[in-house]
Symmetry: C2
Subunit: 341 residues, 2 copies
C-alpha cells in the first residue's frame, strides 16, 4: 500500500507492506486523517520528542527514530477481520477508534514504527475499540472525533462550577476544540486570544464571545473576564515561556489548564504562582467515554466541526501540508484522504 513516512522531519511517500490484522483486530481502509500539532512537533523536534517520550512514560509516545507512518485522527471503513474475530460489523462500515492498538504491549497508532497510522491506505485497529459512526455523519467529520475529544477532556478536567469566566489562549485546533466544548455546555463568557485574524474568526464561529488580538493589548484586561472572581485559563499555545507569562498576567486564584504541548524545557517563576495561589492542571488525551461522547456530539451536530476543516489532500501533499501548517492564516485542520488522487 501507499503511505507517507516520516523520519526525523523528512516526509516522503513510499510503498510499504499492507498491515496484517491479528486475532481481535480489523483491517480498515483509512477514509480521512487529520494532521495534528503533535505530528508537527514530532517531525520538527524528533530528538526531543523521542527522548521525552522514553523518559516520561504515559500515553503520548514516539520511542523510535525509525521511519514512522504518522496520523492518529482518523475515520476508516471495515475491510477485513483478523483470525478468531467476530464479524459483527459489516464490511464497508464507517468507524472511529481511539488511536491505540490493544496488544499485549499496546501500540500508539500513528506513533509506532511497527504499525501504520492514518497517513496510509490501510491500518489495523482493535475490534474492541471500534466505534461505528452513526449513519449520515460524513467520514471527514468523524475524523475530527480525536481532536475534539481532546477539547472535551480538557473542559472536563477544568471541573467548571458554572460561574467561571474563561480565557482560551491560542486558537489552533486545540483551542478551537475547547471553545466548541465550552459553547456546547453553555460555559462562559469565553474570551479567546490569537494573533491570527483567521483563527480569531474561527473562534467566534465556534462560540467564543470575544476574540482578541494580543498585539492590541492583554487579553487578561478584557471586561468579560472581570465578571467573575473565578477565572479559568486554557493554555493552548505550547511554546516555552507561555506559562511564565500567564503566571505574571493571571489574577489571584486563577486556574490554568495546560493543553498546549510544550516539548522543550520550560521556565517559570514559582514565586509568582505562589503569590497568587494559582493552580495548574496539565491534561492529555481523553477517556474512551469522552471519545464516544465526542463522536455523538459530532454526529448530532452539537459539535459543529465543518468550519474547522480547511483542506483535503492526498498522500503526496502530506509533506507540503506540514509546511503549510506553519502559517496560521491558511489552515485550521488539514485532512489527509489517502485514496484521493
Amino acid at each position: 500500500m501507499r503511505a507517507a513516512l516520516m523520519e526525523r522531519g523528512k516526509i516522503w511517500v513510499d510503498t510499504v507492506p499492507d498491515p496484517v490484522p491479528l486475532a481481535g483486530e480489523v483491517l480498515v481502509k483509512t477514509r480521512a486523517c487529520g494532521i495534528c500539532g503533535s505530528d508537527l512537533h514530532a517531525a520538527r523536534h524528533t530528538d526531543a520528542f523521542v527522548a521525552t517520550s522514553r523518559e516520561a512514560g504515559g500515553a503520548f509516545k514516539l520511542t523510535t527514530f525509525d521511519p514512522v507512518v504518522l496520523g492518529h485522527e482518523f475515520s476508516a471503513e471495515v475491510v477485513d477481520y483478523g483470525p478468531n474475530t467476530p464479524h459483527d460489523l459489516a464490511v464497508g462500515q464507517l468507524v472511529c477508534s481511539v488511536p491505540m492498538l490493544a496488544r499485549a504491549n499496546p501500540l500508539a497508532v500513528g506513533y509506532s514504527a511497527e504499525i501504520p497510522g492514518g497517513f496510509a491506505e490501510y491500518m489495523v485497529l482493535s475490534r474492541s475499540l471500534l466505534l461505528p459512526v452513526p449513519n449520515g455523519t460524513p467520514d471527514t467529520h468523524a475524523a475530527l472525533t480525536e481532536p475534539m475529544a481532546v477539547g472535551l477532556h480538557a473542559v472536563n478536567k477544568a471541573r467548571l462550577a458554572g460561574n467561571e469566566a474563561i480565557l482560551v489562549l491560542g486558537c489552533g485546533p486545540v483551542g478551537l476544540a475547547i471553545i466548541t466544548a465550552l459553547e456546547q455546555r453553555g460555559a462562559g463568557p469565553i474570551v479567546a486570544a490569537d494573533y491570527s485574524p483567521r483563527r480569531r474568526e474561527l473562534a467566534l464561529g465556534q462560540g467564543a464571545h470575544l476574540a482578541l488580538d494580543p498585539k492590541a493589548g492583554s487579553a487578561f484586561d478584557a471586561q468579560e473576564l472581570k465578571r467573575s472572581r473565578d477565572i479559568v485559563i486554557f493554555e493552548c499555545i505550547g511554546v516555552p515561556g507561555s506559562i511564565d507569562k500567564i503566571f505574571l498576567a493571571a489574577p489571584q486564584n486563577a486556574r490554568i489548564v495546560v493543553v498546549g504541548v510544550c516539548l522543550e524545557m520550560d521556565h517559570a517563576r514559582p514565586l509568582i504562582a505562589i503569590n497568587k495561589e494559582l493552580s495548574v492542571q496539565y491534561v492529555l488525551g481523553y477517556s474512551l467515554d469522552e471519545f464516544r461522547q465526542t463522536l455523538h456530539h459530532i454526529a448530532d451536530g452539537s459539535f459543529d466541526v465543518a468550519p474547522l476543516i480547511t483542506a483535503h489532500v492526498g498522500l503526496d501533499a502530506v509533506a507540503s501540508s506540514f509546511e503549510a501548517l506553519r502559517d496560521p492564516e491558511r489552515h485550521a485542520k488539514i485532512l489527509v484522504e489517502p485514496w484521493r488522487a
Copy 2:
C-alpha cells in the same frame, strides 16, 4: 528600642525609634518571634526577592532595599493603644496577629521598612486583627501560630477526599507544619522525606508514618504510597529543579501542592506533567479563619508545637541564628525573644 536590622543580607542590632500606633492600632511588646525560611531567603537573595515582590503583586512582599526589621511569626503583649481605639484588651494581654497592618495601604509586618517586624522590642499592630491567646498557652507556642497556619492552609488547599496517600518532600518547618495538620485530621498514610536524620525524627514525632532518606532510594517507591491511587505530594523544598524532579517521579494523576518558595527562575518539562496529567496547586499564606483555627489547635494541644522549637535567642544572636539555620541538623524553629539578655 533595640531591633535587629537587615539590609541586603547584613544583619546588625541597633537602636531605632519606638513605633507609634495610629488610630485603630495597638503598641505591643514582642514576646517571641520565629525565624522563617522566607526571612533567610530575603536576606540571602534580597535582589531577587525585591524584584519578584514588585513584579508579582500579592501578599508576600519586600519591595525595598532599605534596612528592614524582619520577623512575622510572633506573639506579643498589649502595651498601649493608639488614638480613638477602644481599650478592650487589658494591658499585658498576650496576643497574636496575622502579620499585616491594616492601613489604607496595608503593610506586611516583618517585610516593610516603614514599621518594625518581630525582631524588635516593640511593634504596632491593628486592633481589628488581634487575637487574644487563650489562657495557659505559652507565648513561645503562640508564636508558632503563623508557620503552623501555613501548614493548615496548604492541607486545606489540597482538598483531600480522605483516601489519599501523602508524600511530604522536605521536613523543614513548612513540611513539619503540614505533617502536623495532616496528622490532626487523620489523613494518610503520610510518607516524609528529608536528607537530615534530625528532621526525619521530627517528622515522625509530628505524625509521619514513615520518614525516608532520599539518599537511600526514591521516596516515591515507598509501599505506603502504593496503597492508594490518589497521591498528593507536598513540595516543601523550594529549590530550582525540584518540581521537574517531582514531574519525573510522580505517578499518573498525582496532585502536587507547592508550598516551598523557590525564588529563582525554575525549569521543568511540561510534556512530562502532561503525559501524566499532573496538577500543581501553588499555595501561600492562610486565611484569617485558618490563622484563628491554628491558634486554637495550638492552645488545646491538637497541634503539638513544643518539639519544633529548638532554640531561644536574644536580638544579639539573630545574625548568628540566620547562619545556624543553614545546617538542618541543628535546628527546626529558632525563637527570637527580644527582651532576653
